[in-house]
Subunit: 369 residues, 4 copies
């Protein structure tokens, strides 16, 4: 039997690895078991946010002291910039290992990983990427020991983007890319990856998808995908989180889909399914059992929320992604009483327009707060 | 019997008075009965926010077509800049008039108004201002027909600030002002005004107050004050909202004090006292009966919320007041399902450090949503 | 003989009309002669910049006290947001009237005005707009008494944009607009208007222009156009500034084209042609004779200036237009010693990519500083 | 004979060390000779600017591959955030070594370094720091072989700041610090360090200085100091640049003091003293000989520049330091034609209020551009 562990560690800055160091030194984390590190850093989460790369640089250096280079390279590191409002910078370390002797038998949280082959630039943002990701999700499910797509609750994907060089390389072969705008390629890659998840999980059927809908028909979406584009890879790193009988331990996961930026009732329902009553805001004992919350937030394209106008899309001083993280972050913190929440932006085909998927990891053991 | 009415009107921009015009034209608002207009405009809410003055200019011009200049001048106009996240720009028109024949008897929402004498610049931010405001609050309570301070739930005050000219004028008389920094004078004036409310309502006793605590000991605060400094006046405009037996109609008011920026449970309790069940987020019918929510939000001085670090105070790109309105606005929108919320910043001595007062106006008539 | 006057008046805020009021009261400005008011206001110059509308509202109210409504409506008011760095908020009042008895005979600064017919939405951003503007420029030249296009040095145009309603109205007639994105329509309208100027002035020949080059081939540009899109009109307001024998007085105008954001030498050359030596920075006496400087600035699309990388296009905290105004504003202030400069952004087809046109109005009378 | 070398290397991001790596690999830089690295990074230059630390981290790692840890630690690394406008991110590597056989004899650019003893927290921002720095400057002059203070043209200092721990440690000894506000301590430390330079160079006499003037009387300043506070040290790193007969080679240095943010004529005069004609903007050949320009910029406290109002101090969206760097950067780029300029903010006691010192390093060899 395998067991998944999720460590939520506060950081004092983008390059603060002291909490990770301590947890490893104290034996709470075995570096060899680390599969992925997800982090919220305090940059703007937009183009010129260097806190993400700074965090990856510091985490890689910290792990390089304990692991061979290839092992460090295998760890998926997904940094999301932007801790607006009182959102609190932190990392989530996902670890897997042998089950402890005395833990509850499954089903329990399962973690699977897959890396796809490199994506040809001309397939980015097109069906070629959708199919490649769908296949990768299936592999990661297999790695996690999950057969039924309904048991998958969150798929985190790091996907490539186009650079001037990659566009030129495709052009030299006579191949045309979906866009020549490198910034726009990030959204297309995130969107196509999310649709790949939707395809793999049966949320959307293949015949409903084609090149034209990617990045345009936002009625098509996955309720469990969270994708992020990075310049440092040409393939996809896929982490699947779900429930499986072949895993044991106290952790469980479920998910919800928010229909808009303040739609917290589906999240409350998911908390209840996980055993937290959530009458009003989570009380202290229940709060201590909420290990991780991962959500996508966005302003939506209509300029309105439940019919009321907002100013996020017209604000030339603050990016709408920053507004959205702050506001939806506030709504989720109001529900949970926690501010160490992984709320990220850029939600193309991830949840409905203006809303987004939310995943919750809970420790099922009753405790004292 | 008197009756108070509160009209919440969406605006399409800082100078949009079309909703007010329509309500007057349709007879829903009698301009002669308008006591105050509170508005959220979509500026940054900081020093260079001209949306507030633009709104006041447009509202004044619209009313000048229907009222004599002195009557327009008597209306307290308090614009609060900053609709971060999905907070929605709107105005709240506070009107009072004769009770309709068939409305429920009191107690009901009561509105009282008072204008203090001009404040000598050397008294600003000192006990002289505290006493002047306390006396003004007592007058406004009398105007509202409220005897018991416990029946007061919200006191909105517009207070003066220091300018270079006023500082010089005091100096010419040999009088020293509390500060020579005009920006700082705004915080001192807001704080002293809030402490004046606390004194008038018996929240703090006089012997606990002196010049030194103003702007420094934030353990001293009012749970019902909301104050705002403006250059255009030298006295104080005071609007008291509370419950009184001499008023009738369906509207009722209560208040809560948030201990921190996500402390929504006291607000939920106040909603319950007002007859809204608020199991989770307000459902549609209940939401339609929430007429107004007025709150103060701030980042707090500790840099932490429930022990977790936030980055609001260290962000040199976005003012902490903008972060705080977005985040606490999100928490309150998550609770109420509404985004037309009057959430404002600058909360010196208004609620505890990092938290703030919240007032709620509800229509007690059950209805369809 | 006619005489043009240009009054540069500092403002203390977007709605400050006290300087204009004083100049009228003192007889320095005859309100009936005002043709146009150009202003720099201290907003962000982007989508949510309400300082422009606030200024227009205040100027219109001030003039309405002296002129009939139709006369006020005829005055072209072009507010440009963004006084980054030490650029100083001010207005330029363009007035024309009979020549004073004793002034120097022409050639002198000439001002011509024209209003085009309304533009059908489906022509916006297309050759239909280019031709309409070209015709309007010809009319304004005629109004100014300028025959030779070489005598035109600056053409300020206020042009329309698309709104959802206008797009729908065109659609209802079976007509398709150039874009359905209202923000994008502003750039297309500015660009097509600038190309209309280039056509009228013979800078570009008609056969080089077609729908496809508008908004895409920035090698095509006018060195004398400055265009700005506004929602409040459906036609074009065109103000032509140039030199004409039929005007007299001390004012003269010339122009330069900056090849990039720090290309000040062509501006120095133009100053010399106007009689200012400009060895280094303008010395005090010469500076006092520089009445107005109008320039366009932009970051350029390459991300580089003279081969060196800049970060303007990647900055998600500050719009590149704000960076560009600050930096080029600094370069021009370094040359002239003045900070009341009309530097504006959004320079599609107005000067080369990354550069822009600059117009200079000088008082030719030698004086004391 | 010794020889100083200054290498200006463009960077593609805060952590880009490829240019440094290449220069070392090609033998153009000997890492053992590196004394200091000054860099402009593309952050906001304010509190939450992590690009500075990211750059130091990357540079340290790059050098650690070639030098023992103690040698890396000895190199003064001063990163200045903020490349507003078209200012271009780059590093300046200051190297010293034996003179090449065939270079021109002195006087030439000389570089001296000194590290002071640790500063007791209670002396920070007070005369204790002024004297400590003055002594350190004298040592660095000695190290550079400069006897006459008039031969010193630039003193770059990295100075400590107060942290909560250091304040507490002083308190435990019964010692009081100059401030308890850690942010404010940065300005005090920069200011006291600059006054230490002024004292050492004879710009101000000792009797004119006392604790009270530090951070308040900005009429007292050094025209050659550039100081920057960092949390990572408790002493001072001092780099003196000047001219000395005991150094040889083509490089020379001079300096100017700008009286305000656009006062470029003193800079032009310094360029002339260094052999560059600078008629208007530096032409191509002269520009290629300008190796480095280091300047301080600030908005000034009056809110005006040459009598005209600016909006930098009232802008709550963009810090005044960012405005000032962009604007003065533009003025200096307009003069020099270069955008790789080391323009930094935070200029307490460094140049007059609103102005700042400028240092220029020029290669005296005539060449082709």
């Amino acid at each position: 039997m395998r067991q998944a562990r999720v460590h939520r560690i506060a950081t004092a800055g983008p390059d603060d690895v002291s909490g990770l160091d301590e947890a490893i030194a104290a034996g709470r984390i075995d570096p060899a078991g680390i599969v992925a590190i997800l982090g919220k850093t305090e940059g703007n989460g937009c183009v010129n946010d260097f806190t993400r790369a700074f965090a990856v640089s510091a985490l890689s250096a910290a792990l390089a002291a304990r692991l061979p280079p290839a092992a460090v390279a295998r760890i998926a590191m997904v940094m999301s910039g932007g801790t607006e409002g009182a959102l609190s910078p932190h990392i989530l370390v996902l670890e897997r290992g042998e089950a402890e002797a005395d833990v509850a038998k499954g089903p329990a949280l399962a973690i699977g990983v897959a890396h796809t082959a490199d994506l040809a630039p001309e397939h980015l943002g097109r069906m070629g990427q959708v199919w490649l990701v769908a296949e990768g999700v299936a592999k990661a499910m297999h790695d996690a020991g999950i057969d039924d797509p309904a048991d998958v609750h969150f798929v985190q994907i790091k996907c490539p983007l186009l650079t001037a060089e990659r566009i030129a390389a495709a052009g030299a072969r006579g191949a045309d890319t979906a866009t020549r705008d490198t910034l726009k390629s990030m959204g297309l890659s995130r969107g196509a990856s999310a649709l790949g998840v939707a395809l793999a999980l049966g949320e959307i059927e293949a015949h409903a998808l084609n090149d034209a809908v990617i990045g345009s028909d936002f009625g098509l979406y996955s309720g469990r995908a969270s994708t992020s584009a990075g310049v440092e890879l040409q393939n996809h790193e896929i982490v699947v989180l779900g429930m499986s009988q072949s895993w044991s331990g106290p952790l469980a996961i479920d998910h919800a889909v928010m229909a808009d930026g303040i739609d917290i009732e589906p999240v409350r329902a998911a908390l209840k399914r996980l055993g937290l009553e959530a009458r009003g805001q989570l009380a202290s004992e229940e709060r201590s059992r909420l290990v991780a919350l991962l959500a996508k937030a966005e302003a939506g394209s209509s300029g309105r929320l439940r019919g009321s106008r907002h100013a996020m899309l017209d604000d030339s001083d603050i990016a709408s992604t920053r507004h959205a993280r702050a506001f939806t972050g506030g709504a989720l913190a109001g529900l949970t009483g926690l501010t160490e929440l992984f709320v990220s932006g850029g939600a193309e085909h991830q949840g409905p327009d203006g809303g987004g998927p939310v995943a919750l990891v809970v420790d099922r053991r009753k405790g004292e707060s």
